[in-house]
């Protein structure tokens, strides 16, 4: 019985940690696609860029970890402003197919560029000593880095949720996405608003890629390989809000971990089966306000 309880604790912990990893690497997409309604399949490009910035800052410039994390947010956000002004803003009103084709093209280009600059091997993440090793909770040992991820992501979701659902900025973004012409006519500078929101979303993607780099390896094909996980989290969570992807990531993380722990021979199928069932039950996602 004690063994069962203790395995329950570890499944719960690892499940939450895995859910947080999924959430962290998808959080940027929940802003650009979930909130702004842009089918941004190139989300992984921003996440990968954040990961590369973190790895290089740690390995080549020996920066402290928190500074490297902040840098991955700032640099990716700044670069995304350029991309947004030059490319993305032209496609805000475009059909989904055009957005998909554009962002897929962006992925192909970024994969080639990343390979050219960083080579094909995965980047080592040189974590500081205080984030390494095990951490004891309830007599069981858990990896410190995962504890850190859980705490960090929980803070991030709280901040984001407050920002989008409880501030004027959030209200303006939601209004502008729903009806851009009307928002403009009541005096909202939607162009600037969208640029800022896109930069925040991309910056979060960069931060997520950097945070997840220790577990989800950073290498040139990252944007393609992880795409399916980003999309699962955002589509199961539902478009148009920020809570959805968080709950979805947690749900998938915990059930997937439980499945892999107790019935590993079926471990591979579960995440996909669960996605199909959830979407059949609620096509707009768990908290989707629009399909």
């Amino acid at each position: 019985m004690e063994a069962f309880f203790s395995s329950l604790v570890s499944v719960a912990f690892h499940g939450v940690a895995y859910g947080m990893i999924l959430y962290v690497i998808s959080v940027g997409l929940s802003v650009t696609m979930g909130l702004m309604g842009f089918t941004n399949l190139a989300h992984g490009v921003f996440a990968m860029a954040g990961g590369y910035i973190l790895c290089s800052a740690l390995a080549r410039f020996q920066m402290p970890f928190p500074l490297a994390l902040a840098l991955s947010f700032v640099l990716v956000a700044a670069a995304s402003v350029v991309l947004e002004r030059l490319l993305y803003s032209r496609l805000y009103g475009a059909a989904e197919l055009e957005q998909v084709l554009f962002t897929i093209g962006l992925i192909f280009m970024s994969v080639a560029v990343a390979r050219l600059v960083f080579g094909t091997l995965q980047q080592p993440v040189l974590l500081p000593e205080y984030l390494k090793g095990p951490f004891t909770i309830l007599g069981r040992e858990f990896p410190v880095y995962r504890v850190f991820l859980i705490v960090f992501s929980a803070t991030m979701i709280a901040g984001l949720w407050l920002g989008v659902e409880r501030t004027l900025w959030g209200a303006m973004v939601r209004a502008a996405v729903d009806n851009r012409a009307m928002a403009q006519s009541i005096g909202i500078n939607t162009r600037r608003l969208f640029t800022i929101t896109f930069a925040v979303g991309s910056g979060l993607a960069g931060l997520g890629g950097a945070l997840g780099a220790e577990i989800v390896a950073i290498q040139p094909t990252y944007p393609f390989e992880q795409l399916v996980y980003f999309l699962i989290v955002v589509s199961v969570g539902g478009l148009g809000n920020l809570r959805g992807p968080f709950v979805a990531a947690l749900l998938i993380g915990i059930t997937d971990t439980a499945c892999k722990y107790w019935v590993p021979q079926f471990g591979a199928f579960f995440i996909y089966a669960a996605t199909i069932c959830l979407l059949l039950w609620r096509p707009a996602g768990l908290f989707g306000s629009r399909a």
């Binding site: 063994a3 395995s7 570890s10 499944v11 690892h14 940690a17 895995y18 990893i21 390979r115 080579g119 094909t120 091997l121 995965q122 980047q123 080592p124 090793g133 095990p134 040992e141 990896p143 880095y145 995962r146 220790e214 577990i215 989800v216 390896a217 290498q219 040139p220 094909t221 390989e225 992880q226 996980y229 997937d256 971990t257 439980a258 892999k260 722990y261 107790w262 590993p264 021979q265 471990g267 591979a268």
Partner: protein, 397 residues
């Protein structure tokens, strides 16, 4: 009239070519590797091995004979593409010898073509056991998984009583699992559990936690070389399994020389059996590693795929030399069946004339820090020449 003159001219040219084989001969070699896609890191290793060999060994060709290398991208584990590019190389570019290929399924797709077109294919990696038998024109100079997993199982059974196996869920993983278990059980060990992990798997922690809770003495792991192996190693370290006295064992694929630095200290103490380590002290290997670093950068180590490509090219160059640059497919295969090299970077390597598969040395290695960097330090030579044990088991049946 015109026709007969041109025939005459051709005949004259042909006679000339026969009498003076030294007159500028070009041997065309087709290299198929993964230059894009998820396996690009591995494909890159083969490319580097082939090109480094060609650059440093031009003097091993007979006078007047040149080698032209034509490269093609198979985009990853993708049999259809591999078959198409092999066909192009054979039909359009008229290559006389093929080499390369990271992936076993790609080699399986190409093998029937080599038999049809009579173009020898010398594999530089693709370790699946059965593919060499698919065509009389295929030979292999890389390795098979059983060559390392089986002796590792035998060795481990002397030191550990209870083992758990965790392998990637695809054919080579199943081979490694089967061979380790066979060796381990023959030595009296007990396998208390086995798990097969999907190839597309972002988080290894749940599997590893299950293994930790089962409390084995040793964990045998196999993942394809690359980020899967790194992620599993990290999960082993994160969960403190080394402190729980669970020894991490595997084939050399899990601690490849090129990826090792990215794995971090979790890899320290991991025991593997394999045919090649960049840290090996053999003079032939030291020269090889130095040449590699000079060409591609001091921070890079050659992995076993570079050596596979290097030895495949050495076999091909031997065949070219013996035939004076005139490639006959059947003669080429006869020469390659007799191929032996006591001074490969991996030590003595040869081809088994019966199966056309590689005969390898195998070393027991431990990951240690050498000069501040992680390295696969060779502890002892397990054997100087092992044939693929899987084929030997089948013979006994």
């Amino acid at each position: 009239m015109k026709i007969s003159t041109s025939i005459g001219a051709t005949l004259a040219a042909a006679t000339l070519a026969c009498t003076f084989p030294a007159a500028a001969q070009t041997v065309k070699i087709g290299l198929i590797s993964s230059y894009s896609g998820p396996g690009a890191a591995q494909g890159d290793q083969i490319d580097k091995g082939v090109k480094l060999y060609m650059k440093l060994n031009a003097d091993k060709l007979p006078p007047g004979v040149k080698v032209e290398l034509i490269t093609r991208d198979d985009t990853g584990a993708n049999g259809d593409v591999a078959k198409r590019v092999a066909q192009e190389l054979i039909v359009r570019d008229k290559v006389q010898i093929l080499t390369g290929v990271v992936w076993t399924p790609n080699m399986a797709a190409i093998a029937p073509l080599t038999a049809e077109a009579k173009v020898p294919f010398i594999s530089a990696n693709a370790a699946g056991a059965k593919v060499v038998g698919m065509s009389p024109y295929v030979a292999r100079l890389s390795f098979t998984l059983c060559q390392s997993a089986y002796p590792l199982g035998q060795w481990a059974s002397k030191k550990y009583k209870r083992a758990y196996t965790a392998v990637s869920d695809f054919a080579p993983g199943h081979e490694a699992e089967g061979c380790f278990i066979r060796g381990f059980k023959e030595g009296g060990g007990e396998v208390i559990g086995s798990v097969r992990i999907p190839l597309a798997n972002p988080d290894f922690v749940p599997f590893m936690q299950r293994i930790k809770d089962a409390k084995p003495d040793a964990l045998f792991a196999f993942n394809p070389a690359g980020k899967q192996a790194t992620a599993m190693m990290k999960a082993y370290g994160d969960l403190g399994m080394d402190k729980a006295n669970i020894k991490y064992l595997g084939t050399g694929d899990i601690t490849t020389d090129e990826e090792l630095q990215g794995m971090g200290d979790a890899a320290l103490g991991v025991i593997t059996v394999h045919h090649y380590s960049a840290a090996a002290e053999r003079p032939a290997n030291k020269a090889f590693v130095a040449a590699y670093k000079k060409e591609y950068g001091a921070d890079l180590n050659p992995g076993f795929m570079v050596v596979g490509a290097w030895d495949a090219m050495d076999a091909i160059y031997t065949a070219i030399r013996v035939q004076g640059g005139k490639i006959d497919p059947d003669k080429t295969m006869e020469i390659i069946k007799q191929y032996k090299n006591a001074n490969s970077p991996r030590g003595p390597v040869s081809v088994d004339p019966e199966t056309r598969d590689v005969i390898n040395p195998e070393y027991l290695r431990e990951v240690r820090k050498v000069g501040g960097k992680l390295a696969n330090v060779e502890l002892e030579t397990i054997t100087n020449a092992i044939k693929d044990p899987l084929k030997e088991f089948e013979k006994k049946k």
